[in-house]
């Protein structure tokens, strides 16, 4: 599916990463990451498993601390925020986890209510219910409201996970492997949902994936992560038609274009 043209405000940088380093012991995962992401843009980070893609968005969400470098999100230096400031900052960040991360001990309704009840205490019961229903409606899963996460399929869990993040109306969305482990039809539905979120909520997003179909259909720009840094950043076609041989061969571009 060809991605719709979206207005991206190139004057407004929402996420700015500069000279970012992160290691785990002797494993140097990120080695000098630089990237600017603009308002309303979807940037896909492509890379093999274990190249540090998930580490990158966990650093952006403040779940990990960088060894060196700066991450500026919505005008805030994430690494410099105190715990309290980080909590406030995270209200503007939506994080869709690879495993969906729905709370097993709560129903779908309770999962969606959880961030709202804790962070928007001024809302009435009716307003909370309306917000939950609206979020579920946005992902097309209104009928699952009273179900338990264990009763949902993988695709449904992903969509509910996205709905849970949308309920707080985030300015930035971070998707960690949104189509991993899903069949092609469900993957397409998730890709469409990511685009819908971008169009309707005007979010700035980073999508972590190694799925080229997902990258092509959701990304305005693609950043290829190899050996701890971005080897190429650009549109999908630019990267795979004129780009680095390592990238082309690595992703077996011909396979998907044929």
């Amino acid at each position: 599916m060809k991605k719709k043209e979206i207005h991206i405000d190139r004057n407004k940088v929402v996420i700015s990463i500069h000279d970012l380093y992160k290691s785990f012991g002797s494993n140097h995962v990120l080695r000098g990451i630089d990237l600017d992401i603009y308002q309303g843009e979807n940037v896909v980070v492509l890379g093999r498993s274990g190249t540090g893609k998930s580490v990158l968005i966990k650093l952006i969400a403040g779940l990990l601390r960088p060894d060196r470098g700066t991450i500026n999100v919505l005008g805030k230096d994430v690494a410099a925020l105190s715990y309290r400031e980080l909590e406030q900052f995270r209200l503007k960040i939506g994080f869709s986890f690879q495993s969906s991360a729905l709370y097993d001990s709560m129903t779908v309704r309770e999962n969606l209510e959880f961030p709202l009840l804790r962070n928007s205490k001024h809302l009435s019961r009716q307003q909370v219910t309306q917000a939950v229903e609206a979020a579920l409606d946005a992902v097309g899963l209104s009928q699952t409201i009273n179900q338990w996460p264990a009763e949902l399929s993988g695709g449904q869990r992903k969509r509910i996970g996205i709905a849970r993040t949308l309920i707080m109306q985030p300015a930035v969305m971070l998707y960690d492997e949104p189509t991993a482990g899903l069949d092609p039809i469900t993957s397409t539905e998730i890709n469409d949902l990511i685009n819908k979120v971008q169009e309707e909520f005007n979010t700035t997003s980073i999508i972590i994936t190694h799925d080229l179909t997902c990258a092509k259909s959701t990304g305005n720009r693609i950043a290829v992560l190899l050996d701890g840094h971005f080897v190429q950043v650009g549109s999908f076609d630019t990267i795979f038609e004129n780009g680095d041989e390592r990238v082309k061969s690595f992703y077996n571009y011909n396979f998907i274009t044929q």
């Binding site: 779940l63 406030q88 995270r90 986890f97 991360a101 709370y103 961030p115 962070n119």
Partner: protein, 266 residues
């Protein structure tokens, strides 16, 4: 082809001892964090009530059955020894002392370590490996406060309550057995039983249970919260929670009995 080189790591003592001391240090830090977060708002009342129900109320059937059986069995086992000296009239006081001072706190703690400790370890462990704890953090909720503080607090005050409940049930079991064999009335049983019990016995048992409860909670939460290596790690967290908590309970029992005995001398 690359030859995989064996990485040499330097250990201060040995790998196992280093890991052990690191774990002790990390557990200490984890406990300190609990005390720090305990007094800082927001207070998770709703979750604490939910945990109290889950840890306390849901353990009642098991505590009731084991308590009643403990009372009966201990009385039955003690009777032959006392009857040799013609001292079966001492059964109520012997049984009451044994139950209140040792059996009720220890058996309750061991049952809770098995039932509650493993449950906490497995639940938090599975939340960790499925990124639910991270999800809570990005929802601007402090997972340590919401998951850990509430569980440790709930075990700390529910285990003593369960211990008192078990003591009553075990005494009932003992009374049923004594009444059946010696036709002792309930009033005589209580009078003889509590004649030798002092305030120190009850307060030391309650304090002991508070410490046992805290141990069960903190070990279960520590193991669960620091789970790694997927589902295998979840199983290990549950198992380690039980084994470590039981081991520490016995160590604490020895220390507390020693301290209580010093107080008895004065």
């Amino acid at each position: 082809m690359k030859i995989k080189q064996k990485q040499s790591r330097q250990y201060i003592l040995s790998k196992k001892l280093d890991d052990f001391f690191f774990d002790v240090y990390a557990l200490g830090q984890f406990s300190m964090r609990f005390f720090k977060e305990l007094f800082l708002p927001p207070y998770e009342w709703k979750e604490m009530i939910r945990q109290s129900y889950s840890i306390g109320v849901k353990s009642l059937p098991l505590i009731s059955v084991t308590g009643f059986i403990t009372g009966i069995v201990f009385t039955k086992q003690s009777r032959p020894s006392l009857s040799e000296f013609g001292a079966t009239s001492w059964l109520p006081s012997l049984v009451t002392i044994a139950i209140l001072r040792a059996l009720a706190p220890l058996v309750t703690a061991l049952i809770c370590a098995g039932k509650v400790g493993s449950n906490i370890g497995a639940e938090l462990g599975s939340m960790k490996v499925t990124e639910q704890i991270d999800a809570m953090e990005v929802s601007a909720t402090n997972p340590f406060k919401f998951l850990v503080v509430t569980r440790i607090l709930a075990t700390t005050y529910m285990v003593p309550l369960l211990m008192l409940y078990m003591a009553i049930i075990a005494l009932m079991g003992a009374y049923v057995n004594i009444h059946t064999n010696e036709q002792t009335s309930f009033t005589t049983f209580i009078q003889n039983g509590f004649h030798t019990i002092s305030f120190l016995d009850i307060i030391s048992s309650v304090l002991k249970s508070v410490i046992f409860g805290f141990t069960i909670g903190v070990i279960g939460c520590y193991q669960g919260y620091n789970t790694t290596q997927g589902t295998q790690g979840v199983g290990r967290a549950a198992n380690t929670s039980v084994v470590t908590a039981m081991f520490l309970i016995f160590i604490e029992e020895v220390i507390i009995v020693q301290i209580t005995n010093w107080f008895r001398v004065f």
